[in-house]
Symmetry: D4
Subunit: 250 residues, 8 copies
């Protein structure tokens, strides 16, 4: 119920068409329905073109396909993370345009491919083992309408490999940096660029990496001021936020 509708009710009260108590009753459920619909509307406007995302881990293929079917039917872009080629094959039956991204372990089924980003999103990985998470970020950002520039295997112990990409990095609008072990790469990249850097710690490592804790703490304590951090192995989240940052105004 919006302002105009409230005014209408009030005018009806004035006009004697509606009794005060009847009006009161109509206002009863107002706050929340109003809130909800407002929020949805607002979001519809802002979020136009965002894919609907299914977090695949821990869901049965049937469950995923069921949700996917509804999304595809609604005409939205679809994205499934942490899933398998088998699930993609099932989805292909309802969405022939579905694609499986092997390294990212993701499915995308895109109908709207409008470019929505202002600049390039760079996705950097420290080691080759970090690539699956980096790809999760890259595929996400790409499916959300961004140009993505991948720079993989440029860990800090061979700093010249990173420096060789300096110019490209400095041209990016956002940089996603994916690293396991000591998680030092975001700090170094953060010092090279002026753009926001999103650090993604990975669970790559052994022993005192404690499942990614070392990398996570490393990134949180970064001495570069332009670094923020997402959860361990959360490539999707990094790609998602990078897309929000890079998004053209509307």
């Amino acid at each position: 119920m919006n302002k105009d509708q409230v005014r209408k009710v009030l005018q009806d009260v004035k006009a004697g068409i509606t009794e005060p108590d009847e009006a009161l009753a109509r206002f009863a459920g107002l706050p929340f329905e109003d809130l909800i619909y407002a929020r949805v509307d607002h979001h519809r406007e802002i979020r136009a073109g965002f894919p609907e995302v299914i977090f695949g881990q821990g869901k049965t293929p049937e469950h995923i396909v069921g949700i996917a079917e509804r999304i595809v039917a609604s005409g939205s872009n679809l994205m499934v993370s942490r899933t398998t080629r088998e699930v993609c094959d099932l989805i292909s039956k309802v969405a022939p345009h579905a694609e499986y991204h092997k390294e990212a372990r993701m499915i995308t089924a895109l109908t709207d491919r409008t470019e929505r980003g202002r600049g390039t999103i760079a996705v950097i990985s420290a080691g080759t083992s970090d690539i699956p998470i980096a790809e999760e970020a890259a595929v996400t950002a790409s499916a959300m309408g961004n140009r993505v520039w991948r720079v993989y295997d440029v860990g800090v112990a061979g700093i010249h490999r990173l420096l060789a990409e300096r110019e490209g990095l400095q041209a990016a609008r956002v940089v996603v940096v994916v690293a396991g072990m000591e998680g030092a790469l975001p700090s170094v990249v953060g010092g090279l660029v002026s753009a926001p850097v999103i650090g993604v710690p990975t669970s790559i490592g052994y022993g005192a990496s404690f499942g990614g804790l070392a990398a996570l703490l490393g990134m949180l304590n970064s001495c570069a001021s332009n670094v923020t951090v997402v959860n361990i192995d959360n490539g999707f989240g990094a790609g998602f936020v990078a897309s929000l940052i890079n998004r053209k105004s509307e």
Copy 2:
């Protein structure tokens, strides 16, 4: 040594004013000075108007004032974090326009007040005890040329206070959310807005808050996809990244 200076040397060599070996000596170490100047230049362009920042914690007043003096002399904007009014008084002698921000425990001395942000940066705090960190973020963002909208004391246990600000939040270009204890507020805000949300866990709490660890873990595990996180009590970092995100293209 910048490009023009290098060209000048080369022209002098051509003109016979400077001998090749003399030029070589002047280039000694060039690659890195060059690197530096490149980086600086690049940064100068991008970073125009950024204040120079001094992290005050653990530095003596003399040390801070010394650095501050040089920055002010260079004509740059100045920002000192985690400091005291006493330090501000000392700085005022060389920079009469220095201001002390009591709650943020910061000093700013701004000469360039150009507006550089595309939209508004909302800074939200969960409890009143979180305000100093929220102010650190707000003052930082403001000094970096952004319009800042403060919404304090809207913790999740009184969700209606937050919802009452829904419209303002949805209009913001970036939202900084500062919370201690369980650190739940970024998740709730993340669900209400489409903008990037930067969570700042604070060390406010006791017992099992473990100095902010509970809030930090809460934010890292946020079920809202648009949340990234900075270190515990790092209001400055959040304000800084928010400014980068909000920055107008140049």
Copy 3:
């Protein structure tokens, strides 16, 4: 030594068969057996209608069935947690009224279905992955004679879904809130209701959720004063305590 035996000694004293001091000597070991029977009696009175519970995890099917058989034979209600349909099939042979609750991974075999609760127990889950633990709480509370109202998938990142259930929540006598990841839901619910809220952190999540630690810490640090917490994934415990709180006076 049970009540009858004590009475027998006393009668012998009366009859002059046993001397007082001799009786005293025979009472030497009395206290504890007596304690036991007293305690049991006391509990019998208070606990009437409580199901006997078997924690199935780590027990062999034979072991579970053996205990179950004795409970059923005694006429008590039976409840088995963390078990499988196979075990239920075995139990059905001695207790044809046994039911398997798939999502809760529980078996109930109830003969006494007296309603024992004063009001409704609401069981809320943040995500769909938290449902098995929520069901464990719900089935427990239900088997203990309570009306249970389930509200699932109302996580904090979509706060309107929760607000839409506000009235139901505010009518509940106790609220069990089940959440993994950042564990923020109990705080939000705690702020909406005046009833006691029991938070159940789940091990749902990845990376820095550290097997439910993040959710656990989040709930322990709740800024809502009406929240208490049980162990990670302990849906049974939450349902059990909720039943005690809701129990009619006797």
Copy 4:
């Protein structure tokens, strides 16, 4: 704005006293104020007689006194936790009936002393060093209109002291158990009573108590099913929830 006030406005609109647009202006922001009033109303009914609580830790005396003054003026009961006698002396000027509870480090200023509990709340402490936290729980519960029964210094290493109080414990409607070090007492008490037990770990201990972590983990892993837990040293929270559980229906 409550229901009656809304109706009044509507009647005035009907009567032509108030124009629709004027009414609309008065409803500006209605949804949330409405939400608030709904919540408040609802709460007013449920919460009648609850003291307003100020968490004193980290607040200046002036700040506390300021809030206290407003609460006292509104006629509500007042409770301040983690505070000092000095603050109490200041509050006494505006609230002569303010009392300082030394061991609990709390202030209460009660005008409404209606009894609101159905039964007795037992507050038990393991050691003498745990008494301040136990008192925080006891004073809270007492100020909220409950009969409180204190049983202190009955730690598990001298189990007979606890057993000697068995009858009293079994008669209680809720039991708050406060313990540091190994935090074992709630398990033992939980086995003796049928009522809900709220465990409060304290930071009492040294070495591997890790500031109360040992006691906290001990209580969370309790083998007694009727135990829930609050944050380390959160005596107030335990007393508060115990009061909610014990509250008479209305």
Copy 5:
């Protein structure tokens, strides 16, 4: 109800004054008082000569002196741990035989000095900084009637110092080993002797010693099978258990 009261009831039963069932009813509360007296008696016999111990940390001088006075009056040996010379001076007024042990930070006031140990208790410390805790163990064992042999500053990085004491160690009936930092000494000692070894980790160290955690974990993981461990800095506990182990049969 004590023994005499029980006898009285029984005599009344015999005399026909009390009916058996009436007597039975009066025995309802019996168990615990009886338990208490039984336990105390039993302990009196076993514990003869044990000093009564006051844990001084966190208690006011007045409190300590008050308890001490009662103990001394009862003729028992007295021991106060974690206390100061000032407290000793106060206690001296009621117990002129009180002695302050500076390094152990303990007071003893012994009237009964019977030797109660079968053999010698060796107390070993790794570094000089561990001596206060070692002395706590040594003074405790000594006050409990044992011969104590101190071997200090024989850390594992100078293994020859320890080996030089091999014979004495092998002759001891129990060995208490006090060590901070890596806590390796109990393992080495455990390999040299056949007696039980009690490891006491200390909080001595810095950085990754994490307040004694490193030493504690080191001792718990000892590859020597004859090592058990007490809490960090718990010299008293080690001296106490060592005394129990060494105690002559009675």
Copy 6:
């Protein structure tokens, strides 16, 4: 160089075959071989009758059988922990008297069955799931020549079961207490007996038991002074130390 060789050198010196300084030179490497033989000798005397122990976990059956064969051949008692019935079958070929202890997952092959203990070792377990570790302690103590009294399933949440065994416990010379979850049992037992108590935390539990950490911390922080602790699940170590404590003097 063994004793005989040293004697030979000395005899050669006496006989004038070897000069003193030449002998001195040959003794250069002496200390350690000498140490070894001394130590072994010393141990042989003290350790008479101790079984040789093989820690089976992580060793191949062949490896275990190989070591076992040598031990059996030497006439010593044999004990294998953390092993399987299959390994026992293999060992039976060389040691027909080998026995497999199913719950303890141990093998014993004893030829010397001399009783070596002064009193009884009580082995207590909190829950039925703790029995394997309790049995490891019991079988170890038994194989080392002790009378062992088992008391299982007497957890603190049903304190009467434990109290019913009070007399037996108080008669024991050492008490081994095995408990998972909150690990509270050693504290309660410690308060009931005067003997040394060895706590064995187990990894039984879930959620915040963190693999036995909760139980471990609980036992280390025990408020009973007679409790020492071994590693999580280290039943063998507890049985071993209990045997050393209980050992008759020689």
Copy 7:
């Protein structure tokens, strides 16, 4: 681009062969290419004879063989860690001189076997279970051209075994010490030798060893000043650094 090349350009500028702006252009990319090639060159010189190393864990056999093939083709020595005999068989097809080291789980294929060490590298292990990690260190050091002396199964609980090797240890130029459980061995060895000691904690242990954390903390807190530490189970790293320390000057 080196100094001479820069001088050449300058001379060409002087000679009018090259225009200043043309020279400037040629200097454009200078810093990084120069850096990179310098680094490589520099490394080539210093690193001569180092094997190229493939970390096998988490790589497919095909991936490993592919990289191996290129290395072998280049004539370099090859080393693969954390791999299997199956991979070795595949590599043998392109490198018939490939050897599989079973305990170390490594492959080496060496063509250059120049001795590059100044002295001996001692590799010591505490227990037999630590041998795989010790072998990883030993095979690495050996493949890098060092004499390696292995001393296994000399844990601190049998200190005489270690002391018997004292002379050999004191003659070593570097000592690698591999130990799990309490990780005490590096401290003891550190006290016996003057050489640098590299501690390698292993994940061997159970319970409170927490996957090697106990050993790691033990080594970091070593009271011997000559100990440094590598990651848990990082035998390769220890062997690598030991080789660098032992390397002959060039």
Copy 8:
């Protein structure tokens, strides 16, 4: 028993004064005294010129001065770590050549200034706050007879500052890298040099640096193979090991 005493016994055997078996008996206690003198001798040879070191933290000035006096009297070089200028003033009375190193918080009093290193030891710090720990390493290495090259404030977020020192770093024989916060610097340096790198994590940082834990984990997980690590803030240990590595052969 020293060498002369052993020779005396042997001479008595030769002279027939002592029988071989009698001599054998007197050698019983021999090994360890002998060991000690052997070890000391051996060390004297190897360690010539090493300063004797006093760890000042936790020692009284009197204690330190007492030990220092003996060391100086023996003609050895003296080094005191973690101490104050006041202590230095006291030491100056007995050792007028004592120097106080303010930033390192160390005292040195050197008489032997022989150069003992083969090459240069580089000491690098990430931030200015890390300098005290870096100085501790540098002063230690210098006092042990090494050329030390300091490179401070070259943290990874400004990588060009580090690269500018590339040549110097590559010329060093050992590199000590001191860093707090994310502790990333050793990895970057490790990739630039072929020498062994010793990482020193510092406790500099706040929030999730957890007192240096983040830096420590970062260094342990370094992706550069030439990095080993010492305890948090252990500059002395790093300087000491660097000196051992750099030591000329003798």
